[in-house]
Subunit: 103 residues, 2 copies
């Protein structure tokens, strides 16, 4: 499997974070990941049960490549967690403010 790309903390940009969150489905995914203590598989964090796997993977890829989430492989699954420490270091309160308005 190809290595998953994650930007380093200092490569996370404001415009990139906003673009990644500029979609109701991705806002829901991040909100749902934040509400968990543990990391979640893509399917668990899916905003709606019937969503196609390819659509879901694409949303997770966009979030990952913008630095919003960290994805790790556990067996056959991808486990995801929000990069809260990195995001709060770069843009304190930004994520909390945005997610406060997400449905």
């Amino acid at each position: 499997m190809a290595q998953l790309f994650h930007p380093s903390r200092e490569d996370i940009t404001l415009a990139g974070v906003l673009a990644a969150l500029a979609d109701p489905m991705r806002l829901r995914i991040v909100k749902s990941l934040m509400q968990q203590n543990d990391c979640m598989s893509c399917t668990e964090a899916a905003p709606c049960p019937g969503m196609a796997k390819s659509t879901l993977s694409n949303h997770f890829r966009i979030l990952r490549e913008a630095g919003l989430i960290q994805t790790s492989k556990k067996g056959v699954e991808h486990r995801n967690v929000v990069r809260e420490a990195d995001l709060n270091a770069r843009f304190p309160k930004l994520l909390k403010t945005i997610l406060g308005y997400a449905e």
Copy 2:
């Protein structure tokens, strides 16, 4: 001239605002408009002097259609102002938090 489209306050969405601001040039335009007391023409608010007029118009259109700015016609010019009251009513502190991190 065709009427310029502006969404009503209640039609301004979080994802729409984030998408409109998910671009370094548009972040600069909004920041520069916020720093003025008066409204500005598109050229005055341009993030870089050499930017093509069509590129600039496109950025202003995206901002206007997402509810970020109000554009009015004054003679041959378009005058622009940030819809602070509407944005703060819909998403208190969101704009301030985001612009605080814009260059």
